[in-house]
């Protein structure tokens, strides 16, 4: 069993292999797969210029999948003693036995023939962050708030984690990484501003720059005015772009097409977006994060999802690729094969791209947010979106609100803050009407997973209502 000292030191590949060996002794199944993940995470939360929550956690979870013939099931435990591991194996096997045979179930993934490109995402300086380090950063953020006559709320979180997948066919992959995140809201009497950043390396986060920017937005949006809803030119900062476009990427899984729940059903290979929209899934991108393998241990591949507005490829788990090859969609969906994007089995969703990177074209063609504002006669600058939900799954109409810094632009200048809008906007329409883009950055929001996206300027964005603040 891992001792509490070992927890603090992080799981190693060798320790994970030892746990898998112990599990293997208890199993009578045809195949055995283990996922282990966990580590140490901490989050300091502040509001009203005070740290009001401050938490730390140590936990590792072992998840066992057994395969008997064409049946499979899973059992999960965070109890790592021998008895508990044995019970987890027995539980998985008992559940597997009573399953209905699945002719599409594949044998466990084989060991990879070669290693994928290296991904160095563990930074000792981030792993070593203490509650005092986080508190000092919060002190500095609060000082910015007080200097500006504001109050602040937010988080500073960090974690060190390890995960491994091993199976009885000899597959054994391991990934360790650190994460850090700072999110800051600055509040004035009738306005607010917000900034957030996230990186595996906390040295990439600058709390003072984030705090000053959030404070400026809160100040500049004071005394917000109301303008009528309607179609406006809109400049979306990266976090706003991220939270909107994040709603479409689960539709890029092969299983979503087979289930006919994707807005790309009958649309792969067609030009759905503007010429300037090109998107990859690339876990190896320097601004990306996460493990370079999927829920079965298959190495992730770089996949071009959209090229010059045309939907080019989907991503696949192993079994989805096999099903797709035999399906009526096979001739319409581009290349078919496992891409290393599957979720742990068994599951109903299949797969999804989770390391999305937008290509904003050559540097010379890009525009900063300031340049976008300067070239706008009448428009709206959006810092952040909130509570986005899908209204129409095939036209990909989303509703949601603006929040924490919405501004009116006239004659190339930000004029004043605005009361927040509700929008109902189709992603297909939005990404067909992007007139300018900036340099992609690693963006972090609240509705979607982090991705590498640029700020965007779009025409005819559909605001349908205004709220009271």
């Amino acid at each position: 069993m891992l001792t509490h000292e070992a927890h603090s030191q992080m799981l190693t590949h060798e320790q994970a292999e030892d746990i898998f060996l112990r599990l293997s002794r208890y199993s009578n199944a045809d195949g055995l797969e283990m996922l282990i993940s966990g580590g140490h995470s901490a989050l300091t939360r502040f509001a009203n210029n005070t740290i009001h929550q401050n938490v730390e956690e140590e936990n590792y979870v072992v998840s066992v999948r057994t395969v008997i013939g064409r049946k499979t099931a899973r059992a999960t435990t965070n109890k790592l003693d021998d008895d508990s591991l044995r019970r987890a194996v027995e539980s998985a096997e008992a559940m597997t036995e009573v399953q209905v045979e699945d002719p599409d179930l594949l044998p466990l993934a084989p060991a990879p023939m070669s290693e994928g490109p290296p991904t160095e995402r563990y930074f000792e300086s981030t792993a070593a962050l203490t509650p005092e380090d986080r508190a000092r950063a919060v002190e500095n953020i609060v000082a910015v708030a007080k200097k500006n006559g504001l109050t602040t709320a937010g988080i500073f979180s960090c974690s060190r984690s390890a995960e491994a997948i091993m199976n009885s066919r000899g597959l054994s992959v391991f990934h360790a990484q650190t994460s850090s995140e700072i999110s800051i809201t600055m509040l004035a009497g009738d306005s607010s501003g917000w900034q957030k950043a996230n990186s595996p390396d906390a040295r990439n986060l600058d709390p003072l720059v984030l705090a000053e920017t959030a404070a400026r937005k809160a100040r500049d949006s004071a005394s917000p005015r109301e303008v009528p809803p309607g179609k406006y030119t809109v400049i979306l900062e990266p976090a706003a772009v991220l939270d909107l476009v994040g709603f479409m990427f689960f539709d890029f899984g092969g299983m979503a097409i087979l289930d006919q729940r994707s807005f790309l059903t009958n649309r792969v290979g067609t030009k759905l977006f503007g010429d300037n929209i090109t998107v990859d899934d690339d876990v190896y991108h320097p601004l990306q994060s996460g493990a370079p393998y999927d829920g079965e241990g298959v190495h992730r591949q770089r996949v071009r999802l959209i090229e010059n507005g045309v939907v080019k490829n989907l991503v696949y788990a192993r079994s989805t690729a096999e099903k797709m090859k035999k399906s009526e969609h096979a001739s319409q969906v581009g290349g078919i094969g496992p891409t290393g994007h599957g979720f742990p089995l068994p599951n109903e969703i299949g797969e999804a791209p989770l390391n999305v990177v937008f290509d904003a074209g050559p540097e010379g063609s890009r525009h900063t947010v300031e340049q976008m504002i300067a070239s706008t006669d009448r428009g709206i600058l959006v810092t952040r979106c909130w509570y986005i939900r899908e209204v129409d799954p095939y036209e990909k109409i989303l509703t949601g609100m603006t929040r924490d810094g919405t501004f009116y632009i006239e004659n190339g200048r930000v004029r004043h803050g605005l009361r927040n809008f509700r929008f109902n906007e189709s992603l297909i329409h939005l990404l067909s009407n992007i007139s300018e883009m900036g340099t992609p950055v690693r963006a972090s929001g609240e509705e979607a997973f982090d991705m590498v996206v640029p700020p965007m300027k779009a025409q005819d964005f559909n605001f349908t209502e205004v709220t009271k603040f």
Binding site: T3, A47, I51, N54, D259, P346, V391
Partner: protein
């Protein structure tokens, strides 16, 4: 457990904590899902650990571990005290807690059939029977069904002397049918969206839901939606079914009454609230017919917000939230109650698991049924023209909980007091207080259902919590309808 508690409480005290509580949680879950004739998901899971919360130097600290050995829990308690001291570096004043007595008690969810005693093979057979009924209707392109069982056992101890052992059983079941044709994907769910109905009950809930018996109707409805007319855009009277009204309560009453939101503690993530403290007992929230309670007691029913003590050791209570339309109460904790001068928490602090800190969470936030007998049929019969909307499909509300927009899976036109043509893609929107003031009828107790919302997210790190919402069909006058598709 008492040994673990004493190791932790002693360590916390030695490290200078002025208060300490701990929750040892042993959790077990079974989830089985089917999709298009196959088992889509089949898993058992368990989790055990302890979360320790302390106050030191006038500030909170929390640490959690899965390792319940003495060296580990003592180290974790010491860690919680260290974290609290770090918190104290950034504070404006000393933390105060509303007083609470010590409680020693034991409680279990009343249940008839422990769901974990049912056979997995039988569970799968039931779901596949539902699946088969759904896909028997031509045009159904995707059928998904789910069973979810959870047993949540918790031992709570505090430095006040509380020793509370509670066990909850949570059962959920439901299904959805999808139909894709042309350029539309329609969905129908039973008995509710978000996976179905969830309650603090045993397997008897599954038997009560009559899953198989309703599957053919749901499948026929989803296919028929392709032929239905688009819900018109305009300002109309609307009637909401009880599940949609339950979600309306959740979003536009339940969240804004959370006192941590009101006091700014959620400003960075979930947002704040329009219900500033000056509005308590002054704001006309809704019409005279609107009566909402936050009731965690068993008398209210087996809701997902039913318990005997919250995760701060405060007994379950029933708090009037809206009384004949007047705003009368918040959801509070020991520290937020003290912050607004209340002399006691109303007992709403809950944590997702052992590794999360308790937060103010909705208990059972329910709109009470009408006092006068009123059936759904009578409600429709008294409506000259309107739209009846059933089963949530989309939901969104601003970060102060004012402007909302909801879409439902299906609707019907009400004309001359009768349900008429089916309508697809219904939606409505409004401003919270204007909407609740437009309610002019609500059905009586026999039409009232205590729904479970299993997926309420809040906090950082994010916690998912189950909440209960009792509601009966109700009518709202002159509501904006169809804006979800306006201009798109």
């Amino acid at each position: 457990m008492k040994d673990i508690a004493s190791w932790i409480l002693n360590t916390a005290q030695t490290r200078g904590a002025s208060y300490c509580d701990l929750r040892v949680v042993d959790e077990r879950a079974r989830t089985i899902a089917t999709k298009n004739g196959k088992v889509g998901h089949a898993s058992n899971s368990e989790s055990l650990g302890v979360g320790i919360r302390v106050i030191a130097d006038g500030a909170w600290g929390f640490a959690a571990t899965q390792d319940l050995t003495r060296p580990s829990v003592e180290a974790t308690a010491a860690r919680a005290a260290d974290v609290a001291r770090a918190s104290a570096r950034v504070k404006q004043h000393e933390l105060q807690l509303a007083p609470e007595k010590a409680h020693v008690d034991e409680w279990t969810t009343p249940y008839k059939v422990d769901p974990f005693t049912t056979s997995i093979a039988d569970n799968i057979e039931l779901l596949l029977k539902v699946d088969s009924e759904l896909r028997a209707v031509e045009g159904v392109t995707l059928a998904e069904a789910l069973l979810s069982f959870r047993r949540y056992e918790q031992w709570f101890y505090s430095s006040l002397g509380s020793d509370i052992h509670q066990t909850k059983f949570i059962t959920g079941a439901g299904y959805s049918a999808y139909s894709f044709a042309g350029t539309e994907i329609h969905k129908r769910s039973y008995p509710n969206s978000f996976g179905g109905q969830y309650q603090n009950k045993g397997y008897e809930l599954v038997e009560e839901l009559k899953l198989v018996e309703n599957a053919r109707r749901i499948a026929e409805e989803v296919v028929t939606l392709h032929k239905a007319d688009q819900c018109p855009e305009g300002v109309f009277d609307i009637i909401l079914d009880s599940s949609q009204l339950g979600l309306q309560v959740h979003e536009s009453v339940g969240h804004p009454i959370e006192l941590d939101r009101v006091l700014g503690m959620e400003a960075n993530f979930a947002g704040t609230s329009f219900l500033t403290t000056d509005k308590l007992r002054h704001l006309r929230y809704g019409s005279d017919l609107v009566n909402v309670v936050a009731d965690a007691t068993l008398d209210h029913g087996p809701g997902l917000g039913t318990f005997k003590y919250d995760d701060e050791g405060v007994p379950a209570q029933c708090t009037p939230i809206i009384t004949n339309g007047l705003f009368t109460g918040y959801l509070s904790s020991r520290d937020t109650a003290a912050a607004i001068g209340e002399n006691r928490s109303n007992g709403t602090m809950r944590a997702e698991g052992w590794n999360r800190i308790p937060l103010i969470r909705m208990t059972n936030i329910s709109i009470l049924p009408g006092a006068k007998p009123l059936t759904f049929e009578e409600l429709v019969a008294s409506t000259d023209y309107g739209i009846y909307m059933q089963t949530n499909r989309s939901w969104s509300i601003d970060d102060k909980r004012y402007n909302f927009q909801f879409g439902t899976e299906i609707g019907w036109e009400v004309k001359g007091g009768k349900l008429g043509r089916m309508l697809k893609k219904p939606s409505y929107s409004g401003i919270t207080t204007e909407f609740w003031n437009s309610m002019d009828a609500i059905c009586s107790r026999d039409q009232w259902t205590l729904w479970g919302t299993p997926n309420c997210g809040k906090g950082q790190p994010m916690q998912t919590m189950g909440t209960g919402h009792g509601a009966a069909p109700a009518r709202f006058r002159q509501v904006k309808v169809g804006s979800a598709y306006k201009g798109t």
